[in-house]
């Protein structure tokens, strides 16, 4: 056993050493329950409720009877940009507007027989909004004044217990995406910029299907191992017409001239790639009260066109193309059983950004981040109450763009989130060991 542990640690160390240059993390909402938030997402091997179907459907095989969990998170990111030349220049300070959002989640599982458990979940796989104070004066408004990408998912899954040690799981995620973009159209007249129109896009994409699969292995009463996989998924909206609204310049004669100059047609093409995810995790029962979780998640980006936004104004196209790095996320969590009915949780995650510095833009601001979380679970008979809070600290990111596709400056960000989930189970025990 000691030898096996030593090998696992050695493997982890080598994995880190080899991939420490790789970047990871990103813009996804990763935590879909309060427990996941409390453990900083280190839940590949954690099987306390049906939200496990998102991370590793094999874990469902450990759920007994009928179980429900429902709740919501309050997420509040903050961004700022201190400008640099050539655009928007020194002295420019941009602050994000209130970007709060409240993704909700609802999961349910049903034990079919001793080997088979089915489950379904409704949650928000990603939700990211960028909006800035004084949007009409925001220096990046000619790139993107405001953007919002969100998705809702319905996720039926099933897990099968092959034997006492090994379980397999498979899920089918159907997701509906929503994209909203606002962009200011500049008209240059004799070397001077005038804001002459606003282009808006608001579009829902048709349902998209992705698989996810997982495996869980109980090596010993103290050690559990797991693997989870989700393939790369591309979301694409092709040449969606944007609405064009003329903005008054304050000069009626100019407005009349500008009306003649305004584009007749503007379309946006959007492509977003959700990277392939391969996660490995281990859970150690360190003592009767203490459990530790470690997850490594490798994200394989498409590499060249992970985020593409193309504005076509009449026949002229402007593209924002972001190729992202492959990346490696580390998530760790610990649980401490304070009393039989109360469990305390803490987590830490290091999530390097997959977004190279050359790709940062007001469309989507990202950077390497550290996540620190705390939480608690209270069990009141059949009812469980989970609470959690997390703080995310982003590294400062300096973009020295001289090619015009981004705003040059120092980007800073932070985020806090709180989560609350209620679980209920029908049956004698909530988990089967």
């Amino acid at each position: 056993m000691t030898s096996l542990l030593r090998h696992i640690f050695l493997y982890c160390l080598l994995f880190f050493a080899a991939l420490q240059q790789a970047h990871a993390g990103g813009w996804r909402t990763f935590e879909y329950s309060a427990v996941a938030t409390a453990l900083a997402g280190a839940v590949i091997t954690h099987s306390s409720d049906p939200s496990a179907l998102v991370y590793n459907p094999a874990l469902l095989s450990h759920l007994a009877g009928t179980q429900f969990i429902a709740g919501a998170q309050l997420v509040r990111p903050e961004h700022s940009l201190s400008g640099l030349a050539p655009f928007p220049g020194f002295g420019t300070l941009e602050q994000s507007r209130d970007l709060r959002y409240v993704p909700a989640h609802l999961f349910a599982s049903q034990q079919i027989n001793d080997r088979l458990v089915a489950a379904i979940g409704f949650y928000t796989p990603f939700w990211r909004r960028m909006a800035w104070e004084e949007p009409r004066r925001f220096s990046g408004r000619y790139l993107v004044q405001q953007s919002e990408f969100s998705a809702y998912a319905l996720h039926p899954s099933a897990a099968f217990r092959l034997n006492e040690k090994l379980s397999l799981g498979l899920g089918l995620r159907l997701s509906w995406n929503r994209f909203r973009l606002i962009r200011t159209h500049p008209t240059l007249i004799n070397g001077v910029i005038f804001d002459t129109a606003e282009f808006q896009l608001s579009e829902n994409s048709p349902a998209e299907v992705t698989l996810n699969a997982g495996l869980h292995y109980t090596l010993s009463p103290r050690l559990q191992l797991a693997l989870a996989f989700r393939p790369l998924q591309t979301r694409r909206l092709e040449a969606v017409p944007m609405t064009i609204r003329q903005l008054p310049t304050g000069n009626s004669e100019l407005d009349t001239d500008v009306q003649r100059l305004l584009p007749q047609q503007a379309t946006a093409t959007l492509q977003m790639v959700e990277p392939l995810a391969l996660a490995a995790g281990a859970t150690w029962r360190l003592s009767a009260r203490l459990v530790a979780h470690v997850n490594l998640e490798w994200l394989r980006a498409e590499g060249e066109r992970d985020l593409v936004l193309e504005f076509r104004v009449d026949s002229v196209a402007t593209q924002i193309v972001q190729g992202w790095h492959h990346s490696l996320n580390l998530r760790t969590g610990t649980e401490f059983r304070l009393r039989p009915s109360v469990r305390l949780m803490a987590g830490y995650g290091y999530l390097p950004s997959p977004q190279p510095t050359t790709a940062s833009s007001p469309l989507l601001v990202d950077s390497d981040r550290h996540q620190a979380s705390l939480g608690a679970r209270a069990v009141l008979g059949r009812l469980t109450i989970d609470t959690a809070m997390a703080l995310l600290f982003y590294h400062q990111r300096r973009i020295e763009d001289r090619n015009g596709a981004a705003l040059a400056g120092v980007y800073e960000a932070s985020q806090w989130q709180v989560a609350l989930s209620f679980g209920y189970h029908f049956g004698k025990e909530s988990t089967r060991e």
Binding site: M1, T2, L5, F9, C12, L13, F16, A17, Q20, G83, L84, A85, P86, F87, P88, G89, F90, T92, S139, G140, R141, Y142, L143, V144, R183, P186, L188, I189, N190, G191, V192, I193, E253, T256, D257, R260, L261, W284, L286, S287, A292, V294, V316, T318, L330, T332, Y348, Y350, P352, D368, H370, H395, Q396, R398, R402, N403, G404, L407, A408, V410
Partner: protein, 437 residues
């Protein structure tokens, strides 16, 4: 024991995760200037280096000249220029007279006014020949060729008014540059050599276009003089003069865009176009074409729009006077080919001579090609070579706007940083794009 090992391993793992984090950006950047001392920077050149814009040299445009912008970025606020008060001094080659700058009156129909030069601008008098006055740091003289920079002192019989304003009889550009003991030299010249052929729509060796061998001799003499004392220097090549709005705006067919009068039902439909007639360099009169493959392919001067609006270049049955556009307005296919070939050759000469002296070259030619092609995007704003609406070219269709000079200054800065290890930040283009005139 086993648990201790596990805990220890977790601590190690966490430590590695922290070590693999990207370290924060350094807070103290390297010195701006690198090996360059910008305190006694001198600029040598022609109208492009002087900051000519909107058809004139005036203090509003001189403030944004390439060397003035670089000096400000380098923290040298004392960079002196022969400032000429508004409305500045411009030269109307067509009417052979001096004028003020151009101003945009109306977009539709396009109306541009030239401010009159009723009396000498206030500070023009202050810039009159004065041998005791200190040398200006910006010695660039609009209209100067390389040979002019080597030979003209500003007190000679040359009709270039700018020579006397800027050089004041105190010596040639190169001489004054040498005597100022500069710490750094910016040099951008040779543009006039090509532009003369474009401006007069004539490609004649030794009259409107220099022979490559003469150009090489002049350029070598220029660099020999400027680098004699080992002063570091940056030079720039000749922009693509065949992709400027001055000859790319007026189409060879009738359109309502510039004239304002509704002549055509569908100006975008080639079938319904009324093609203009013009005089070829051999004296023949031809129906002009906008197809580069056609033998009658031609580019028209911006100023020809006025003649077209008065009925020139149109047959009588098309509502015109039946008088073709004159040869000075028509850059024909043959002339375009000669100028293109010569432009390429002269830029090759610049590269070769620069390499001989170990001098870095700013590639302004490529910058102009990019403007004429996909454009250059800055913070989501696309700058192109389009007249009025491209953002780069001023009302004269030849010289840049403040933002255009900013883009060129950034190209210089990039070359200075790369070659001399400096760390100058780029010019703030956002600010330059907000300047209303």
């Amino acid at each position: 024991m086993k648990q201790k090992k596990i805990r220890l391993a977790m601590v190690v793992l966490g430590a590695i995760a922290f070590v693999s984090c990207e370290s924060p950006e350094p807070m103290s950047p390297p010195p701006l200037a690198g090996s360059i001392d910008f305190s006694r920077m001198i600029a040598v050149g022609d109208g492009f280096m002087a900051g000519y814009s909107d058809g004139a040299l005036w203090e509003g445009s001189q403030f944004f000249s390439v060397p003035a912008q670089i000096a400000r970025i380098a923290g040298e606020g004392s960079f002196s220029q022969p400032r000429i008060a508004d409305p500045g001094v411009g030269r109307d080659e067509l009417l052979q007279r001096f004028t003020g700058r151009q101003i945009l009156l109306r977009l539709s129909p396009l109306s541009i006014n030239v401010l009159p030069l009723t009396s000498p601008p206030a500070n023009l008098l202050a810039a009159q020949p004065n041998a005791t006055a200190p040398t200006f740091a910006n010695l660039a003289v609009p209209g100067h060729t390389i040979r002019d920079a080597l030979l003209l002192r500003g007190d000679d019989s040359n009709p270039n008014l700018f020579s006397s304003i800027i050089l004041r009889g105190a010596g040639t550009q190169t001489r004054q540059a040498q005597e100022a003991a500069p710490s750094f030299i910016l040099c951008w010249i040779g543009n006039e050599e090509v532009f003369t052929a474009v401006q007069f729509a004539r490609a004649i060796d030794e009259l409107t276009l220099p022979l490559p061998i003469d150009f090489e001799e002049d350029y070598r003499a220029l660099l020999q003089t400027l680098t004699a004392s080992g002063t570091p220097i940056v030079i720039a090549n000749i922009p693509d003069m065949l992709h400027i709005p001055f000859i790319r705006t007026v189409p060879t067919y009738l359109t309502t865009t510039l004239l304002g009068d509704p002549v055509l039902p569908d100006p975008d439909n080639p079938e319904s176009r009324i093609w203009l007639i013009g005089t070829w360099n051999d004296g023949s009169i031809r129906v002009l074409s906008d197809d580069p493959q056609s033998d009658n392919y031609a580019l028209l001067h911006l100023v020809s729009a006025v003649s077209i609006s008065r009925g020139f270049g149109r047959l009588v049955q098309d509502g015109g006077l039946g008088i073709p556009l004159g040869d000075p307005f028509v850059l024909d296919k043959e002339e375009i080919a000669i100028i293109r070939e010569r432009l390429t050759t002269l830029n090759t000469v610049i590269d070769a001579v620069a390499a001989e002296f170990g001098v870095p070259v700013v590639d302004v030619f490529s910058l102009y090609r990019q403007l004429a092609g996909p454009g250059i995007t800055v913070g989501g704003v696309r700058l192109t070579a389009e007249y009025i609406y491209g953002g780069f070219f001023s009302l004269d269709g030849i010289f840049p706007t403040a933002a255009g000079y900013g883009l060129i200054a950034n190209a210089f800065i990039e070359t200075i940083n790369r070659h001399y290890g400096a760390n100058l930040p780029p010019v703030n283009l956002a600010e330059l794009l907000q300047i209303k005139r």
